[in-house]
C-alpha cells in the first residue's frame, strides 16, 4: 500500500466532493448568468458553494470571489490592489522572503513595472518579525502580503499583528491562506486582513478551484477583463460543477477541522520524533509552533533530497522536498535559504505533510523505512572509483 504524505502539494478529493462534482457535471450544466431555469440551477449551486466557503472563513458570502485556484487568487489580490492604488501615489509593496511563488513572482513582475518591493526577512524559525514590518512600512505602502502558513515548513505568521501595523499606515493587507484553510480555523475578521486567498485542492476539493475573500469596501482592478461574473471581480463563466465541489469541501473541512487537526498534530509529532530519533544528522526546519498541524520539514545531513524522494517513492512513500512547484531544480528552497540555513542543510530537506488518509501504522512504516535508506544513500561510492 502506498503512503501519501504530500498533502501540502495536493489532496485527493473527498468522496462527497467527487460525488457532488460528478452529479453537477451531469445535471447542473447551465450558465450561472442565464435568466432561465438552467441558469438558475447553476446560480443556486454557486450560491450554496459561496455560502459554505464564506462559513469556513467567517466571511460574508458577498465577499467571496471564486477563482481557479490559489495562484489566481493571489494575482487578483496583488495586481488588483496595485492597479487600484496606483492613482493614489502609493508605490510600495511589502511581502516576505518565504512566500509562495504565486506571490513572489507577482511582486517581481510589479517590481519590473516600477513598484518598489520590499521583501521582509524571516528569522531562523521561519517567522516574520513585526519589527521588520515596522521598519519597512511607510505611508507610501500600498499593500502588504504575508502568507498565513508557509507551505514548506508549516510555520504560521503573526498575520493579525502584521495587519494591524499595516493598517496604521493605510496599507491594504493580503494573506495567502492556501495552507491554512481547512487545516486550522481561519477567521478573516480575527486576522484583520483585507484580502485572503484559498485553494480548493488543498483541502480535499477539486483542482482548478479557489477563492479570494475581498473585505467589503476594498476596491480592486481585476487583472483579467471580460464579463461581469463574480460581481465584476472575476470575468469568465464559472466552473459550476467544480465550484459546487469546493463548497462541499469547505463544508466538510469546517465540520472536521477541530478533531482532524488534533489527530494530525499527534501523528505528525510522532513522525517527527521518530525520524529525528532514528536518523543521525536529522533536524527539524522551522519552529515547532505555531505551525499547521500536518506539516513537518526535516533536513537530513549528507543526502540529497532528490535521491531520498525517489528512494522513498520506490518504497511506496510519497513525500516532497519543499514545494512541488519547484521540483525539477536543485535550487535550494528559497524558504530554507531565507531562514539562514547553511547550504548543506538545505540540500537534504524533505517535507512530510499529512492528511485524512494517514494512519498510525503508516507513520510506523515511514519511521522504519527512512533510516536504512538514508544509510544506503550515504554509503554510495561511484563504481568507477572516481569519487
Amino acid at each position: 500500500m502506498r503512503i501519501y504524505l504530500d498533502h501540502n502539494a495536493t489532496t485527493p478529493m473527498d468522496p462527497l466532493v467527487a460525488d457532488r462534482v460528478a452529479q453537477a457535471m451531469r445535471e447542473v450544466w447551465g450558465n450561472a448568468s442565464s435568466v432561465h431555469y438552467f441558469g438558475q440551477q447553476a446560480k443556486a449551486a454557486l450560491d450554496e458553494a459561496r455560502g459554505a466557503v464564506a462559513a469556513l472563513l467567517g466571511a460574508d458570502p458577498s465577499e467571496i470571489v471564486f477563482t481557479c485556484g490559489g495562484t489566481e487568487s493571489d494575482n487578483i489580490a496583488i495586481r488588483g490592489a496595485a492597479d487600484a492604488l496606483e492613482p493614489t501615489g502609493r508605490k510600495h509593496l511589502i511581502t516576505t522572503a518565504i512566500e509562495h511563488e504565486a506571490v513572489l513572482n507577482t511582486m517581481k513582475a510589479l517590481g519590473r513595472r516600477g513598484w518598489r518591493v520590499t521583501t521582509l526577512p524571516v528569522d531562523a524559525s521561519g517567522i516574520v518579525s513585526p519589527d521588520r514590518l515596522r521598519e519597512a512600512i511607510t505611508d507610501d505602502t500600498a499593500l502588504v502580503s504575508v502568507m498565513h502558513a508557509n507551505n514548506e515548513i508549516g510555520t504560521m505568521q503573526p498575520v493579525a499583528e502584521l495587519a494591524a501595523i499595516a493598517h496604521e499606515h493605510g496599507a491594504l493587507v493580503h494573506t495567502d491562506a492556501v495552507q491554512t484553510a481547512g487545516k486550522v480555523p481561519v477567521d478573516v475578521r480575527a486576522l484583520g486582513v483585507d484580502l485572503l486567498s484559498i485553494a480548493g485542492h488543498k483541502f480535499y476539493g477539486p483542482k482548478g478551484t479557489g477563492a479570494l475573500w475581498i473585505r467589503r469596501g476594498v476596491r480592486l482592478v481585476p487583472p483579467m477583463t471580460g464579463g461581469k461574473q463574480e460581481r465584476n471581480r472575476r470575468a469568465g463563466t464559472e466552473n459550476v460543477p467544480a465550484l459546487a465541489g469546493l463548497g462541499v469541501a469547505a463544508d466538510v473541512a469546517g465540520r472536521k477541522l477541530a478533531a482532524e487537526g488534533a489527530r494530525l498534530a499527534a501523528l505528525r509529532d510522532r513522525l517527527e520524533a521518530g525520524v529525528l530519533a532514528g536518523v543521525a544528522g536529522a533536524e527539524r526546519n522551522g519552529a515547532a509552533g505555531p505551525r499547521v498541524p500536518n506539516t513537518s520539514n526535516i533536513s537530513i545531513e549528507r543526502v540529497e533530497s532528490e535521491s531520498l524522494l525517489i528512494g522513498l517513492d520506490l518504497a511506496g512513500i510519497a513525500v516532497s522536498s519543499g514545494s512541488a512547484c519547484s521540483s525539477g531544480t536543485l535550487e535550494p528552497s528559497h524558504v530554507l535559504k531565507a531562514m539562514g540555513l547553511p547550504h548543506v542543510r538545505t540540500l537534504g530537506s524533505i517535507r512530510f505533510s499529512l492528511g485524512a488518509s494517514n494512519t498510525d501504522a503508516e507513520i510506523d512504516r515511514v519511521i522504519e523505512t527512512l533510516p536504512p535508506l538514508v544509510e544506503k544513500l550515504r554509503s554510495l561510492t561511484t563504481v568507477g572509483g572516481r569519487k
Partner: protein, 371 residues
C-alpha cells in the same frame, strides 16, 4: 530483476526500457536533466532545440538531447510502458565532468569527445550510484554495444550488431566493475528492428530522428560555445606553414581540429588542411592533405576493457574517430596507463583529444586518449 534504464527520450533507450519491461523485469526509468530548465524566479521556460544562447541573467541554455522536451518524451514513454519514471538533476555533475572538460580540451588545442565522459563519469558512475541506492542490479542504456561474460567471469565489450550504429567507440573507458552492472538491451538489434519495436509498442518516439550533434551544442558551433564558456581562455594567433611561414591569422586554437580544411581564411593554390595545433604559441600549422597521414600515435589513460594490457605488440584494428574505419595496426602498453599504436598504413588526421580504440574482430580490447 530491478533495472534502472537511462532514458534520454530517444527511440533507442525507450525501446531498451520497453524490452526489459516486456521480459518481466522491474524497470525504473530515469532521465538525467543536464541543462537548466527555467530561469530563476520567472516563468520563462527554455525552448528546446534552440541555438545556444546566454539569457539576460547570464545562464546558459543548451540542448538537442536530454532537453526538457526529450525528458517529457521519456516520461510519456514510461507512462505508456507503465513503469515509474524519475528525472534526476545532474546539471552540476554534467557541467563538472563533461562540459568543463570539453571546453578545457578545445582551449588546449585538442578535439574532445564529451560522450565518452558522459558515459564513464556520469551514466556509469553517478547514475549507477543512484541505481544502487534504489536496489537495482543493473543500469541499462540504449547504446548499440554488446556485453559478454566469459567462463572466468570477465566481461567483454563487442560492437553492436548494427555496425553502422555501433557505439562501442564511446564506451572504451568502462571498467569491469561498470560493465558488470551495465546492460545494453538493443545492442543485439539493428536500428530498423528497434524502430519496429517502437512502432509495435506505439511509443511516441518511434519515428523521432536520431540525435546528431553534441547534445549541449545544438547549433554545432563548438567554437562559439567555447568562447561563451571560457572567454578569458581564448585568444587569436597565427596560421603558419609546416616550414614556419606565417600565412594568416586566426581567432583562437579552439576553432580548429586536425584535418580541418574549411574556415582557415587562406587563399592558396592547393587545398590546405590543419596539420597541428600549438596552443602554447597559439599557432595553427597547415599543409597539404598528404602531410596529414600518420602511422604512429601514443595514447594515455588507456583502459584495457577485459583486463590484460598488451605488453608485447599485439595485432589489432584501431579506430581513431567515431566515423573511422578501424585500420590494421599493432598496439602495446608502455606503462603508466599509456600505449603506442603503429598503423600498417598512414591514417589521415590523427587528432589529439579523440580516442584511439583497439578491436580484435568486433571485440573492443581497450582504448585511450590520443596525445
Amino acid at each position: 530483476m530491478r533495472i534502472v534504464v537511462a532514458m534520454s527520450g530517444g527511440v533507442d533507450s525507450s525501446v531498451a526500457a520497453a524490452l526489459l519491461a516486456e521480459q518481466g523485469h522491474d524497470v525504473i526509468g530515469v532521465s538525467m536533466q543536464l541543462y537548466p530548465s527555467t530561469r530563476d524566479g520567472d516563468n520563462a521556460v527554455a525552448r528546446s532545440g534552440q541555438a545556444t544562447r546566454a539569457d539576460d541573467d547570464g545562464t546558459q541554455r543548451w540542448g538537442t538531447c536530454c532537453t526538457i522536451d526529450d525528458l517529457y518524451d521519456a516520461r510519456r514513454v514510461a507512462a505508456t510502458l507503465g513503469i515509474p519514471h524519475y528525472i534526476v538533476n545532474f546539471e552540476s555533475q554534467f557541467g563538472e565532468h563533461v562540459v568543463s572538460n570539453f571546453v578545457r580540451e578545445y582551449v588546449a588545442g585538442r578535439t574532445p569527445i564529451p560522450c565518452s565522459h558522459c558515459n564513464s563519469d556520469l551514466k556509469f558512475a553517478e547514475l549507477l550510484d543512484r541505481a544502487t541506492a534504489y536496489d537495482a542490479e543493473q543500469l541499462a542504456t540504449g547504446h548499440y554495444a554488446r556485453i559478454e561474460r566469459d567462463a572466468d567471469g570477465r566481461y567483454h565489450l563487442h560492437r553492436g550488431a548494427d555496425t553502422s550504429k555501433d557505439q562501442t567507440y564511446f564506451l572504451f573507458s568502462l571498467t569491469q566493475a561498470q560493465l558488470a552492472r551495465a546492460a545494453f538491451p538493443v545492442g543485439h538489434l539493428d536500428k530498423n528492428t528497434v524502430r519496429a519495436h517502437a512502432h509495435r509498442l506505439n511509443l511516441r518516439v518511434a519515428s523521432k530522428p536520431d540525435s546528431q550533434e553534441i547534445c549541449f551544442v545544438p547549433d554545432g558551433d563548438y567554437a562559439a560555445f567555447v568562447e561563451r564558456q571560457a572567454p578569458e581562455a581564448t585568444r587569436g594567433g597565427t596560421v603558419i606553414s609546416a616550414e614556419g611561414r606565417v600565412l594568416g591569422t586566426h581567432g583562437g586554437v579552439h576553432r580548429f581540429t586536425i584535418g580541418q580544411r574549411k574556415g582557415l581564411g587562406l587563399s592558396s593554390s592547393e587545398p590546405l588542411y590543419v596539420l597541428a595545433i600549438k596552443p602554447d604559441t597559439a599557432q595553427v600549422v597547415v599543409g597539404p592533405r598528404d602531410a596529414l597521414g600518420r602511422t604512429h600515435l601514443t595514447a594515455s589513460e588507456v583502459n584495457w576493457v577485459s583486463g590484460a594490457a598488451a605488453l608485447d605488440w599485439r595485432t589489432v584494428s584501431a579506430q581513431i574517430r567515431h566515423r573511422h574505419d578501424a585500420a590494421p595496426a599493432r598496439v602495446r602498453a608502455t606503462g603508466d596507463g599509456r600505449a603506442e599504436v603503429e598503423f600498417d598504413a598512414p591514417q589521415t588526421a590523427v587528432t589529439p583529444g579523440q580516442a584511439v580504440v583497439f578491436y580484435d574482430g568486433d571485440e573492443l580490447l581497450g582504448g585511450g586518449w590520443i596525445d
